[in-house]
Symmetry: C2
Subunit: 205 residues, 2 copies
């Protein structure tokens, strides 16, 4: 059985949603970030990055959302989750999730995690100030160029969907003007109403 | 035949090295970043992200280094490039490359691409100032916890190796104290002397 280390409102939600979608047998361990539990030695021994999610498998620990989503899908899910038989669609799915990890999530992180890149209080404030703009820019590329609908890759629910849903649940807190993002807002509602999403949100409360 | 859009000293080097390793038939189109060619309409039509690498395949355009490396390996290479028959090693390889993309490359980008996250000149200077420290921290996790040797994942050359090599070729310019990174420096020398690496460096000059 898999054990996933997660925290409320974190990106770990994407992986928990997918575990629910594929009906995997798993245990969720909820860390309290307000108590900095992710920095405690017991968790550092599990994941020295001090972040969530981390998944404990029979073979060892796995981190990084794009890798975890792909692992869960390949182990438990139908191949439609990763593009079916098409090597190119498979690659486009990895491309999309890599963009979420390295551009969209990173833009968001400059609001509350700016200390990764500067210790200067005024610079931290300057970083926070631009988040509404940089997040809108990052997500607009999805709205305008990448999103196909009704799901990210078209007719099939894939491992891009819980990940996009999770990151877009941060848009309001990031101060993003969502009026130009109708496709993404409709997608968020569509994923929110799925039973697996509801179950995952209950687990992470 | 694949066509790859690349630029000297960019992360596109990793994908070109892998194309050389697997002896793929490809054409390289070199963009001149000093002339901002990545921002010109003809290239924006190919990759609206305005970055390299982008790979033109028979099925369409592919971007994001982790996705491109995996695509090239699965299409042209032996399965040892992606962990052989082990689903867990395959996942660990995606984990490693995702970490390079979303943490290590991002730390580096705060030196010259800080305008993605702030327009304030003093904040940009503050971001540049921390790069030696944040890059050292990001790469030390590889040195101490992730790197197995002689290659990233142990005995087999995988798609992690050209990517780590490429990012570590930036350490000197980033002002990183490499004295505590003996494993990574030896890896860099090991990858540098491979004929495929030499051929790729020639193509990107």
């Amino acid at each position: 059985m898999l054990k996933i280390f997660a925290a409320p409102k974190s990106v770990a939600l994407a992986s928990v949603i997918l575990l629910e979608e594929v009906k995997a047998d798993y245990e969720a361990v909820i860390l309290d970030f307000s108590r900095n539990e992710q920095r405690e030695p017991t968790y550092q021994a599990i994941n020295p990055k001090g972040r969530v999610p981390a998944v404990l498998t029979e073979d060892g620990i796995l981190t990084e959302t794009p890798a975890i989503l792909l692992y869960i899908a390949q182990r438990f899910g139908p191949d439609t989750l990763t593009g079916g038989q098409s090597a190119f669609v498979f690659a486009k799915i990895q491309e999309f999730n890599s963009y979420l990890a390295s551009t969209v999530h990173v833009a968001h992180a400059h609001r509350l995690r700016g200390s990764r890149w500067t210790d200067d209080p005024q610079a931290l404030e300057a970083l926070r100030k631009k988040v509404p703009e940089s997040m809108l820019q990052a997500v607009s590329l999805i709205e305008d160029d990448l999103f196909q609908g009704p799901f990210v890759m078209g007719e099939d629910y894939t491992i891009c969907d819980p990940y996009l849903f999770t990151i877009c649940s941060w848009l309001k807190g990031d101060g993003v003007d969502t009026s130009r993002l109708p496709g993404i807002l409709a997608h968020r509602d569509r994923i929110l109403e799925r039973p697996a999403t509801q179950a995952a949100l209950s687990r992470l409360q």
